[in-house]
């Protein structure tokens, strides 16, 4: 009886290896089969774009939203005074013309164009007043209320020191809007394209009460598309908005989103022509990188190691510099991430903000640190003397997902082999717990990231001012603090000097090795040839479909 049993087992195993072999060898064929199949796809002539969303939409209430899926949808169904254009410059949206700006740069007067909500109501100046006041009202508990803090009295209202009607925004008449700022910030126009600044139709919001924007038909839209169907956790659909002021520019009739969380599943859907575009992870990049439908682009999120100066070793500048120089960022990005990310030797991402001279911030400041193991070893030896230690154990705080575990392992291996006497213990923690430990300063060094809140280097630069909420690592440099304070205050009226101050501030941060920058995140994707004109935005909603089309 044993014989029979083992025979059967062998048979099953043999069969399974055979099947497995089949599946891997024939994968290339699948790719070519589908290309011919896609030619007859009905999507082509109908101007229908089929996409994937990685999560359910958390919120369609522009005052409350804080996440990328919500902002992606909102950027295409709502519109503020400005919207980010094809070249990621703010272009006129609900504003009919460029505003009149007062001499001190603090008062903006906008004329609104004759635009309509999808229920036929006109978009009025009051819609902006209503939504902005609602956002800063502490009773709303909007997490992104702080986005409006550049507007006069916004912070006072949000912290309960003033009434919402004291906010620096006024409807002069139905079509004229006057905005007063606290500071004459140069990035205000692009800020106006951000979700929290969208108008809301007061009458409609109030009539829906608690149900406002919870379903497709309890929301009202003023953007290029409307949310026409929303099956929670499953799919949602955008339709061309017939009441949009610039509807002639919009070519797509329908955008279908299916919610798919698993990358392998998404790729399989792409292979079977169910979707026109899919985001890849590291495993699939190797498989598809020579495919002509493959592409990648840099995002504007930067990841770095926080080096907590509460630790006596990390309080030493040479020790921090040694750590920054002792690990190979290039092979980290190529091997561990492999998704179009680029190694970072800086804090402010590339392709994000241009200065008064028209040059990218990154182009001017360049790389501010480099891999140099020999120099790192020297600095490490020096730090040992200065701080008086021979062996040290540091704890690396990180998230507990698979990818973060790989990152931790890589850093541990690199740093331990290049810096004598250093031992690294890895502490993986669930998402919120990791953030909590970090904000309390209970860690030695940690993996962290930052994405921009507005289109200006300051959103990155001011993170590490002495005592700042996002410093979280006890870093302090008076010269740097002063440059940041100047750039936020006196230099606002001298944009060239302000830009220079920000460039210098970044140099100081990097010279102090306050952080060890890791990478600027990138995304790799596959997209059908017939999909044209999807615009990738550096902040706010990730993509604009206003100019997208399906072409033969």
């Amino acid at each position: 009886m044993n014989k029979k049993f083992s025979f059967l087992l062998v048979l099953v195993l043999a069969l399974s290896t055979f099947l497995a072999a089949c599946s891997s060898s024939s994968s290339d064929k699948a790719g070519s089969d589908n290309k011919s199949g896609s030619g007859s796809g009905s999507g082509k002539k109908d101007q229908v774009l089929n996409l994937i969303a990685t999560a359910e939409i958390p919120s369609m209430d522009s005052t409350l939203a804080t996440d990328s899926v919500s902002f992606l949808v909102m950027n295409n169904v709502y519109e503020g005074l400005y919207r980010l254009g094809k070249n990621n410059e703010p272009v006129l949206g609900m504003a009919a013309e460029e505003p009149k700006v007062s001499a001190d740069g603090k008062t903006y007067t906008f004329k609104l164009r004759d635009a309509k909500w999808s229920n036929g109501d006109p978009v009025t100046a009051n819609d902006f007043v209503y939504s902005w006041r609602r956002a800063v009202d502490p009773a709303t508990a909007a997490e992104y209320a702080y986005m409006l803090y550049d507007v006069k009295n916004a912070e006072e209202i949000n912290t309960g020191k003033a009434k919402p009607d004291a906010l620096g925004i006024k409807a002069v008449d139905d079509k004229t809007l006057e905005i007063t700022l606290k500071n004459n910030v140069p990035y205000f126009k692009s800020l106006l394209s951000f979700g929290t600044f969208y108008p809301e139709n007061e009458k409609f919001v109030k009539s829906q009460g608690k149900n406002y924007a919870l379903e497709a038909n309890t929301g009202v839209y003023n953007g290029p598309f409307t949310l026409s169907d929303w099956k929670h956790e499953q799919s949602f659909q955008l339709k061309k908005n017939p009441t949009y002021w610039d509807k002639d520019t919009v070519k797509l009739n329908t955008i279908n989103f299916n919610i798919v969380k698993d990358t392998a599943t998404a790729v399989n859907l792409f292979e079977t022509n169910k979707v026109d575009r899919v985001t890849l992870n590291a495993e699939f990049v190797d498989k598809y990188k020579n495919n002509k439908e493959f592409g990648s682009y840099p995002e504007t999120s930067v990841f770095f190691l926080r080096l907590n100066e509460k630790n006596k070793v990390l309080a030493n500048r040479d020790a921090r510099k040694a750590i920054d120089m002792a690990w190979d960022k290039k092979s980290f990005v190529d091997v561990i991430l492999n998704n179009g990310s680029q190694p970072a030797n800086y804090l402010v991402p590339s392709d994000f903000a241009k200065g008064p001279d028209g040059k990218d911030f990154r182009e001017t400041n360049g790389d501010l640190s480099k891999l140099d193991v020999a120099e790192a070893k020297k600095l490490w030896a020096k730090a040992k003397k200065e701080a008086g230690f021979d062996k040290v154990s540091l704890e690396l705080l990180n998230y507990d997902d698979d990818n973060s575990k790989k990152i931790s392992q890589y850093l541990k291996e690199q740093l331990e082999s290049n810096l004598d006497g250093l031992t690294i213990t890895i502490k993986p923690q669930p998402f919120k717990q990791k953030l909590d430990l970090e904000s309390k300063g209970n860690y030695d060094f940690s993996f962290a990231g930052w994405g921009p809140d507005y289109q200006d280097p300051m959103t990155f630069i001011d993170m590490f001012v002495t005592g700042g909420a996002h410093n979280q690592m006890g870093y302090s440099n008076k010269q740097y603090d002063k440059l940041v304070a100047d750039a936020k205050g006196p230099l606002l009226s001298d944009l060239n000097a302000r830009w220079k101050a920000m460039l210098d501030a970044e140099k100081i941060l990097m010279d102090d090795a306050a952080i060890s920058p890791m990478y600027q995140r990138g995304t790799s994707y596959l997209q059908r040839d017939y999909v044209k004109g999807i615009v990738k935005h550096p902040f706010g909603g990730d993509f604009g479909y206003k100019w997208a089309s399906i072409e033969q």
Binding site: M1, K4, F5, L8, L9, V12, L19, C22, S23, S26, A30, E56, P58, S59, D61, L64, A65, T66, D67, P138, A139, A141, E143, Y144, A145, Y146, N158, T159, G160, K210, L214, K231, H232, E233, Q234, S235, N258, I259, V260, K261, D262, A264, T265, N268, L269, E271, T272, K274, P430, F431, K432, Q433, L435, D436, L437, S439, D453, A469
Partner: protein, 309 residues
């Protein structure tokens, strides 16, 4: 019977109360805030927002407040999904999970029982070993490997079934099969063992001695007795399917509740943690109750309330 049912309902409510209390305090031990953009906000801003949700109150106050709302049937609103009521959030997702779970349980039970019976009747033959191998594979191959493999072969290569999504019956076939593997394996092993034991007992010998046919004995006497322990495990298996469908739901992009159950914990979404926990435990308690009642139907000897007086 009625008295027994009422008694059980009281016990069920007490159990629910204990579960709700324990979950509430354990959940509050989790560090971090339920706010979505905790990493972007300053501590002062977090305090302002917490004020609105009553999160600055002392824990006992929050607890009493929560129980009060719970008694009214109000589970509160989600933090991750702004202002969306938790009952609605569960309601939107439970349909797909329930359908999938139900189909997988039915398919798994039927196939499992048949395999188990074949293995028992033809024990120590090739059929028995075949069923054993299937059961071992069913338990040891992780469902995501099996599901991914099936998706690739049937969906991408042969294009017999849709790869993923949730748009009609054909979309449910692959996830149902993937999810039922575990059930098939468990039930077939249980059924085989129980049936073999029953077949060896004295009264079956007697039935054989009296000249009853083999099939008659199995259907009339053996099966009925062998089913009792099997029904016991269907209860936990059903709950297992409901809570364990997370992976299958991800792979086949099914709009189910599985992910929320896990994600709400990592996001500290207090109201959703409480809502899903209460929902799942109510379901579990209810299934156990149904199983207890079923015992009596199948085997009068163990009628729960001690039988009719």
């Amino acid at each position: 019977m009625l008295r027994y049912t009422l008694q059980r309902i009281v016990y069920m409510l007490i159990t629910m109360f204990i579960i709700a209390t324990l979950t509430f305090f354990l959940m509050k031990l989790l560090p971090g805030s339920p706010l979505k953009s905790q990493d972007k906000l300053t501590p002062e801003q977090i305090t302002i927002i917490n004020e609105k949700y009553g999160l600055n109150d002392p824990l006992p106050v929050q607890y009493v407040h929560y129980l009060g709302n719970l008694a009214k049937g109000d589970l509160g609103s989600s933090f991750q999904y702004d202002n969306r009521p938790v009952t609605e959030l569960i309601g939107n997702r439970i349909g797909a999970s329930a359908q999938l779970g139900f189909q997988a349980l039915i398919l798994g039970s039927i196939v499992g029982l048949i395999l188990g019976i074949i293995a028992a009747i033809r024990h120590n033959t090739i059929f028995d070993y075949g069923a054993t191998v299937l059961a071992v594979l069913g338990i040891s191959i992780p469902s995501f490997v099996f599901a991914g493999f099936m998706q690739y072969i049937l969906g991408v290569k042969l294009q017999l079934l849709p790869v993923a999504l949730w748009e009609g019956f054909s979309y449910t076939i692959m996830p149902t099969i993937a999810l039922s593997g575990f059930v098939i394996a468990n039930i077939s092993r249980f059924m085989r063992t129980e049936l073999l034991e029953v077949m060896g007992s004295d009264y079956i010998m007697l039935a054989k001695a009296k000249g009853m046919s083999g099939t008659g004995i199995i259907i009339k006497h053996a099966l009925r007795n062998a089913l009792i322990p099997v029904i016991t495990i269907i209860g936990p298996l059903a709950v297992n399917i409901m809570t364990g469908s997370l992976v299958i739901e991800q792979i086949f992009a099914i709009p189910g509740l599985g992910e929320q159950f896990v994600k709400s914990i990592s996001m500290n979404d207090y109201t959703v943690i409480m809502g899903t926990t209460i929902f799942y435990s109510a379901l579990f308690i209810f299934i156990i109750f149904v199983v207890d009642i079923l015992y009596g139907v199948i085997d009068p000897r163990i009628r729960v309330a001690g039988g009719k007086k």
